[in-house]
């Protein structure tokens, strides 16, 4: 299987005074998911690779496809459609995994997310272009949306990856749903 690897941004960009200046020129990587357009901060993107089968993790929530080998590091892969409780689809040639850095209380994590396909890099010159997210009308729970940007062909929803891919939050959700086989293991822990 072919693997596309594009290094887009250096790691470890921190919020610093420099960043304030950059606010004027924000860049977002946009991708498609179930016909809608989403954007994530390009500084968080480590690389984009083609989908390759991953190793399943037992008793993980359904949206955790498994773990993959990213140059020796074990990286979980999340299906964003399933994360948003959208209909699952067959993975195709253009299905990609966007590898992103997620900040958490437990340090930075590297997580891969499966999306239908990447589309573009969105330049935003003026922070005022970003509108607040409405309370309804999207497939995605609005708590993960940090803003909306109108573009020629429609609208891009900007995602907060730290919330969206927070392992703690994903598993808190999972505990509510629960499943039979999982409860057996839960005894032990």
């Amino acid at each position: 299987m072919e693997t596309k690897t594009t290094d887009l941004a250096p790691m470890g960009t921190v919020r610093s005074p420099k960043r304030e200046i950059l606010e004027e020129n924000l860049q977002y990587l946009t991708f498609n998911l179930a016909g809608e357009s989403y954007g994530i901060d390009i500084l968080r993107v480590q690389e984009i690779r083609g989908w390759v089968p991953v190793t399943k993790v037992p008793n993980a929530p359904v949206f955790v496809r498994g773990v993959m080998n990213l140059r020796g590091a074990i990286v979980p892969v999340i299906d964003l459609r399933l994360r948003f409780a959208l209909e699952a689809v067959e993975y195709t040639k253009i299905t990609v995994v966007i590898v992103v850095t997620v900040r958490s209380d437990h340090g930075d994590r590297i997580i891969g997310m499966v999306v239908d396909g990447v589309s573009d890099v969105l330049n935003i010159n003026n922070a005022a272009e970003i509108k607040d997210a409405p309370d309804f009308g999207t497939a995605v729970h609005t708590e993960f949306i940090s803003g909306l940007v109108a573009i020629d062909s429609g609208m891009v929803m900007l995602l907060d990856v730290d919330r969206l891919l927070s392992i703690e939050e994903m598993f808190a959700l999972d505990t509510v749903r629960g499943s039979e086989s999982r409860s057996v293991v839960a005894h032990a822990s």
């Binding site: 399943k56 993790v57 773990v67 293991v185």
Partner: protein
Amino acid sequence: MAIDIGQFIQTFFEESLEGLDVMEAGLLALQPGEATDLEQINTIFRAAHSIKGGSGTFGFREVTDFTHAMETLLDRVREGRLMITGEMVNTLLESVDCLREMLVTLREKAEIDEARADELRIRLLELLELNEPVVSKPISAPPPTSSQSAASPQPPVAQSSESPGALGWRIGFLPHANLMHSGNDPVRIFRELASLGALTVRADRRRLPSLANLHPEDCYLAWELELRGDAAREEVADVFAWVEDECDLHIESLVEPPSFTAPEELRSSAPPSSLPPLPSSAPKAPAEDVVQGELMQQQEPPRSDERRKPERRPSSMASSESSSIRVSIDKVDAVINLVGELVTTQSMLSALGTDFEMDRLDKLHEALDQLDRNTRDLQEHVMRIRMLPVSSVFSRFPRMVHDVSGKLGKHVELLINGEQTEIDKTVIEKIGDPLVHLVRNSLDHGLEPPDERLRQGKPETGNVMLDAYHKSGSIFIEVSDDGRGLDREALLRKGLDTGLLKPGEEYSDEQVYDLIFHPGLSTAKQISDVSGRGVGMDVVRRNIQDVGGTIQIASQWGRGTKITICLPLTLAILDGQLVTIGQDCYIIPLLSIIESVQANAEMVNRVAGKNEVLRFRGQHLPILRLYELFGAKGAVTDLMKGLLVVVEADGRQVGLFVDDLLGQQQVSIKSLEKNFRRVAGVAGATILGDGRVGLILDISGLVRVNNAVL
């Protein structure tokens, strides 16, 4: 040529801290009140001496002063003029602590607390006086040129036999040829001596070779010195302290008829000057002893009659994890050899690869086998570099036992075995604290007070044993004592009270003793300063489990307790057995596998209509269907069709039901938690040969799951 002294500072700290460990060990080996073991004293003295020398070179005046006080005391003992007392050992031990703290503080470039050092130094000096017939010579500041001997209040001893109304001393000074290589300068020594009294020096030039053969940096002269005055013998000896090992020295009292028979020829030829002629070529190397001497002067120990209570500060020992390891050259050489072999194999393979034909397939296989062997060997040897003898952990215990047993008023003997057993550095760092806890427990709860021991017909002195050894690919560390043992009944009651055990059921000893690992369950009658609070046994067990180890207890009421810790040789790599469950591939650590069997109908029974057990070699083992546990799809569900892998962890065995066995492989363990989270039943992940991720089963976790389910 300017030498940047800074680059040696780190070495100085490392060596000094090692020296302190040596001193500590030596002090603990001393038996107060018994005949002094001269070898021990010398070892301690040498360590103190090197620290003093080093600190002088780097200008750490506080350390130099302090070590000097210790050294003076040790010197008296060495000369047999002081008896070692318990108090002395304790004070010296405290001094070692204090020095260690000073060194650590200096390394961090912080201000050191001189108050404590001063206080201890005073106590050291008091010990000196306490034990000696002090003559009332005032401790006045000595002349500025005098040596370090002046720094401590040398009680100028009225030398009993040696110097009855001594006129002075006759000194035969025969330096070895290399005296000046170490930066010592005879002239300086003579100057020091001259400050003690009237000095006459005669040089013996007989050894002087012809100019053609003369090596300018060697010392060919010998001297005969006469010092008249009331200087004490050790004052004189102290002047030579730095060159002791590099010369033949005779010091005799002048009263006796001169026994030093210098040849007449020499006597007449030597100029009667107070300074000897120097070989003109003698290098004026910087001599640190003079620096030392001057430094010492500024430090007249403050005297106080009342002994201040020592301010105890928590020792910072625990936190100092060494960032470098010393590796014996053998280990490094072995690795270099292996790399050589690897290079050979590589060139062999590339030669094969350039124009490969099928008829040379055998050769290829052979080369690949060799590569496999090389890689394995290399890996093993590289791992060995990380291995440290367990003595680096054990070495702290003699001191701890000494202190704690003193505090508890118990007589304890600590026996240590197998301290040369080697363990991975990471494991060593992690097991230190749990071991401390276990030993403290033994001292505090395990061993009875002396009177109780006597009542029970046991020897008054209790034993605590530390033992380390290799067995079947793991490392075992045992902590045992011959104390009162665990109170099974009390534990059982506690277990029932807290609901951890169910009434009316039979429990094995093991299950009962296991209770002490539960948080909040202590049978200690009272919480003491030493143990019974803070970190409990649950933390001990968790720490051990964190490094992939297990812990077991054996105990006999009234006879003692033995705690066995089993640790993996290394954390980074394990031998794995690949198994399939449905479409997924998992890895079982090879070490935990007892056997793999294909079940038949007679071997499998059902208990209470639900739980399946496997009859295996006379035992009944619970069966764990992994596909059920992991929710795997497409797995074999018929017990007769798959395979049962019998594994053992924490002393319990279970049969794991898997589809099939694949190959065996060495795998390096990767963290699953770093980017994801802990997964029940999975210990970690690894990268398989094809680049995919394989999950490593957590056998002791699975065994626990099984117990919880049952």
